[in-house]
Symmetry: C2
Subunit: 397 residues, 2 copies
């Protein structure tokens, strides 16, 4: 646990000024962009004054906001949405102030899982509601089930096929959620239903949009307007497996996109080729990670593929800290090129996805995995890496 | 700690027979191989009877034995060499039986470090002697120093430039070792001076030998004689970076070589292209791993190279379990192709070498590292992977 939220702030305005000579204006809202005159309208939220600023280059890094489809639930005291540091602090203060015995989390994605863990550690009973048939949609159903089992093992109620119909509201508080044909009462409700890109500025300026209305960019992070760039949760990426534009907003991608845009704006030449959709998270002793395409996205693109799903262990069986892990690999049936993979397992399992990440960047086939000189010593690994075993299994198909 | 040494036995003769229909003859010594008549001479050590057996295919998996250059130290009660399960049990029994206060370990390689940790955990004062100027020769001197610092931090005395001249012996026991101009008394002496391949049979049969007198094999694991194959610690490998034959005997390589030979003997077609010399170990809270060529081996091959050495952390600085790690990367100066790398750091650092292992197999350049979609979430990693930071630094040279 992090004891002080100030430790979570990477750079404050003073640091920006002193280290990078960048002026940061907090509490200033940009209301419009004029690509033809290369200018923006900006409002100082404290004084209410509006002014026009011109630019040589403009970077749109407007991020994303959480999805909140329930109009009636707006402004409720005990309904929280986690997005910013401020919203995290607000939730923490609410938990310190109020007696919360039972919380409902709407959404079985990364945010839902991480909030569930945090609440569980405070001794709160947690119910997680997922609209579709399985949680963690970046994973295949069989792997998702393993994640859900790991969450349930700690006493969390995970309900799938439980889309939220609405809330029972009384005196400014939600008292229950109606979902999956049930009315589920709780003291606290948290929405973790994904995010949508903040692209109203870009849209009003006439910029081209991509998937999920994210800002379209090329691999230099240039938008469709001259000298306007975009990076981070507000813009699209290219998926490196099928070369399709995708909207997969993640912090690590945002950093690489920002660096690429910054180099180009500064007169350099950098490209950001795209993403594999790599993601990783944990719930107590259950870790999970995925990269590349999964069964659902492969079926959508119409690629004929084989897959394997194998059970292995993080360390030799005689080693006390050994933990189970399951690896799923997906590969092109004709070429054996690896297209994606998933790991679910105990402590020390998920970060191994990076082996597969590099293999996907290198466009490796299943055969290329067989003789990888991966590191082995009993405190770190088994002689045969689970990824190699999974490749061997997939080759049998 | 493993409580029962029987857990360390992967397969016993009964398992071989029942699961694989393989007859295992323990306590049988093969005394010669006749490639022309396709036969071997074998002695039953219990009955003393000798017989000739013919073969269609012969696999030499004779392994290696530890180096022991001190004739006068042979058979001493308190001088141990660790190689087999039996020698480990003998050491454990000696420690249970005798009061050992101070042990001297000759050799600062993997075995030396792992034995030092085991002795330290039993409360024994340990002195480690290394002939050359730094321990762990697969690493560069600057990285080796970090490993040595990590070992010294736990109270182990690490002496470099301390080649052993001999032992002071009294009543069947070594009383002191003479090294580095000093006479160092101790209760127990352990040799971890590396291994030499068991290739007398191969040599007497007229087979070609490779580096360090290991058995020469092609990538099918065929020796220079028809229908004689070799795999494991007795034979050479090809180093994938410079395509030179090397002798780097490791368990993980032995497994891959054995599988390759087995498939080919069984009529299949498999190849083992070679090794990167990947290795990993730990001493308490200090982990280390390396792969590819290092400064010493690159200078020997005459390749012009650049390198970077950067300090980073396993997890974000605000995360309580964050630990320091140092990454060294070496790359071709002209082509920027990565040639090797090393990690030394705290818990959770060394296994990350696998990212680099796959990158080396893929013949990645430093530029290829910059946009890898490696997994990121605060419990697992920093936004910028240390390997990526190291690549960026090396590109500046």
């Amino acid at each position: 646990m992090v004891d002080d939220h100030n430790k979570l702030i990477a750079r404050d305005p003073k640091t920006f000024k002193e280290r990078y000579a960048i002026d940061v204006h907090l509490r200033h809202r940009v209301t419009s962009v004029d690509p033809h005159n290369r200018s923006i309208c900006v409002v100082d939220l404290d004084t209410g004054t509006e002014r026009t600023e011109s630019y040589d280059h403009l970077l749109l890094a407007t991020g994303s906001r959480p999805v909140q489809p329930f109009a009636e639930a707006k402004g409720l005291d005990n309904l929280h949405i986690i997005k910013s540091l401020a919203s995290g602090i607000a939730l923490k203060q609410y938990l310190d102030r109020e007696q919360v015995r039972h919380a409902v989390i709407v959404g079985g994605g990364y945010i839902g899982i991480e909030i569930a863990e945090a609440l569980l550690l405070r001794g709160i009973q947690v119910t997680m509601l997922q609209r579709s048939a399985y949680i963690m949609h970046a994973f295949d159903p069989s792997m998702s089930k393993r994640i859900a089992d790991g969450i349930r093992r700690h006493g969390v109620t995970v309900m799938t096929g439980a889309g939220v119909k609405g809330f029972e509201i009384d005196k400014g508080k939600a008292r229950a959620v109606i979902a999956g044909g049930q009315t589920i009462p709780a003291d606290l409700f948290i929405l973790g239903m994904g995010v949508t890109p903040n692209t109203e500025l870009a849209q009003n300026a006439g910029l081209q949009l991509g998937p999920a209305d994210s800002i379209q960019v090329n691999e230099h992070m240039q938008t469709s307007a001259p000298d306007i760039w975009a990076a981070g949760d507000c813009c699209q990426s290219i998926h490196l497996i099928n070369r399709q534009p995708v909207y997969i907003p993640l912090g690590t991608t945002a950093n690489k996109q920002g660096r690429t845009a910054g180099i180009n704006i500064g007169g350099g030449d950098a490209t950001f080729p795209g993403v594999l959709g790599t993601a990783i998270t944990k719930f107590q002793d259950t870790e999970c990670a995925c990269t590349g395409l999964n069964t659902r996205t492969l079926e959508k693109t119409g690629i004929d593929f084989v897959s394997s799903e194998i059970d292995a262990r993080t360390l030799p069986g005689y080693y006390p800290e050994t933990a189970p892990l399951t690896v799923k690999l997906l590969a092109d049936r004709k070429t054996a090129r690896i297209l994606g993979g998933q790991i679910v397992g105990g402590p020390g399992s998920a970060k191994r996805i990076d082996t597969l990440v590099v293999a996907l960047h290198a466009e490796f086939t299943l055969e290329d995995m067989l003789n990888l000189d991966l590191s082995y010593a009993p405190p770190f690994a088994n002689v045969w890496d689970p990824m190699v075993i999974a490749a061997r299994e997939a080759l049998k198909q």
